[in-house]
């Protein structure tokens, strides 16, 4: 589903964000991307949803070559992805249901199918009862669930979550994480960038650790965890 091969990413100011990153993610996997801030987690995320292109190397996501993707192809790639951020990125002037419906409306879904699809994902994330609430009326955890519902409503093959629990308390974190596990259990690939090591430790999932833009640990490669993961 995802293939990074000798990927380098440098910025116009010369800073090197990724150094020779290589990893593959197969169907059905749940992968943690860990590392300190600035280690390159977000850069990998941005390459995954083609907001940026690699300076060198190959990035393939769900059959699309991000390294050479055309502008008209980017929306097609993104419709196969769901993306969730730390800051939820909801529209404040719309209800939970409208926020979710927005993702369908702007990608040209048939209007008569929208309400049912919205309710299905809101039920899936446990927010059916709050469909008409505005973001400000929801807790952080609930807002993130709305964002996840929006990410799911187009039935993505891959869900990208960039620090999805970064703004949440422990209880909400557990709830959102549980939700992501359920989504993964349904067959969706989940890539979650996080620096919450407690969360990483309690789950039996693959972990890729980055430091200064390079992969220093990948749990599938049967290496001993670094000192960052004792």
């Amino acid at each position: 589903m995802i293939r990074f091969h000798n990927v380098f990413k440098s910025f116009p100011n010369g800073a090197l964000a990724l150094k020779d990153v290589t990893f593959h993610v197969s169907k059905g996997e749940f992968v943690f991307l860990t590392g300190h801030s600035g280690a390159g987690k977000s850069t990998i995320m941005r390459l995954l949803f083609a907001e940026q292109r690699p300076t060198q190397g190959e990035v393939r996501v769900s059959g699309f070559a991000v390294s050479s993707i055309g502008t008209t192809e980017i929306p097609r790639l993104r419709r196969r992805l769901g993306v969730v951020f730390q800051d939820f990125r909801l529209l404040e002037d719309r209800t939970a249901a409208e926020n979710v419906a927005f993702a369908l409306e702007v990608t040209g879904a048939r209007r008569d199918t929208i309400p049912a699809r919205v309710m299905r994902v809101l039920t899936q994330v446990g927010l059916a009862a709050k469909a008409r609430a505005h973001p400000r009326e929801l807790s952080g955890g609930e807002q993130q669930r709305v964002a996840i519902a929006r990410a799911l409503v187009n039935d993505p093959a891959i869900l990208l979550a960039d620090e999805p629990t970064g703004n949440l308390d422990e209880r909400a974190t557990r709830g959102v994480f549980q939700l992501l596990r359920e989504i993964n259990a349904g067959g969706t690939v989940v890539v979650m960038a996080t620096h919450d090591l407690d969360l990483v430790r309690q789950a039996p999932f693959r972990t890729i650790e980055l430091r200064d833009g390079a992969v220093v640990y990948d749990s599938t490669e049967d290496q001993q965890p670094d000192e960052a993961l004792p």
Binding site: P75, R79, R89, F102, V106
Partner: protein, 289 residues
Amino acid sequence: MRQLFREALLSFRRAPLLSGLSVTTIAFSLFTVGLFLLVAINLRMALQGLEERVEIVAFVLRGTPPETITLASQDIAAFPEIQDVEYVTEEQALGRARKELVEFRDAYRDLSVNPLPASFEIRLKEGYRNAVSAERVAKRLEGFSFIEDIRYGRDWVERLDKLRNLAGIVGLVIGAAFAAVAVVIIGVTIRLTILQRAREISIMRLVGATNRFIRGPFLLEGAVKGLFGGLLSLVLCYAGFRLFRDSNLGTLGGLVFFRPDQMGMLVLFGVALGLFGSLVSVGRHLRNV
């Protein structure tokens, strides 16, 4: 498509002040252009009236035989620039003078010898009523040995030409300047709307909306603003026209307003300005995100 219209109208509801400002600025820009066009159109009409009177008078030497006159008359009528030629005999000239110059009627009556020469009065075809053509015809007429003198109000024709050219150039320059201002203003107002909705746009991009889809409502918004601005400018132009015509300044008479197709063009121009302004603005924003 319905979604597109809904989005475009929504932007008017979201930012009524900003939208109103855009429409008004477009309207005033087009109003100025429109007023100028009106002046140009009316000036052109007036000039056409004057042009029709551009004629060449060639005076004939006394004693030229009638056969020569007849032949020459046919020759002149065959010039490509000529609409018609009229031969005015000495007697006809005197008769006209008596009729038209009432003050000198007595003086003309007592004459024993007719002092007025016979002449060819030559009118030029439309499209040849300018200084260059008049001079060319005059040069050819000088070739006839029996032509004594040629008058064609050369300075006057040339001045008329210059005036019309000047009107055209000034019109183009002022029109272009105001069109540019309108484009910039629309671009800025659309840009403000875009910034206001930056979050929405970033989410649209994130969930896989195409650039065309994102652009659509903004372009439509620009076009609709252009349309409203264009219509408003027509109203303003008409008000200005009525005011001018009904005031003392308007004693010129025969003033005309735009024809329906010209009104359509002005409104269409507004739509084009709106589209262009938003296209520039949206294009730049989508590239930067």
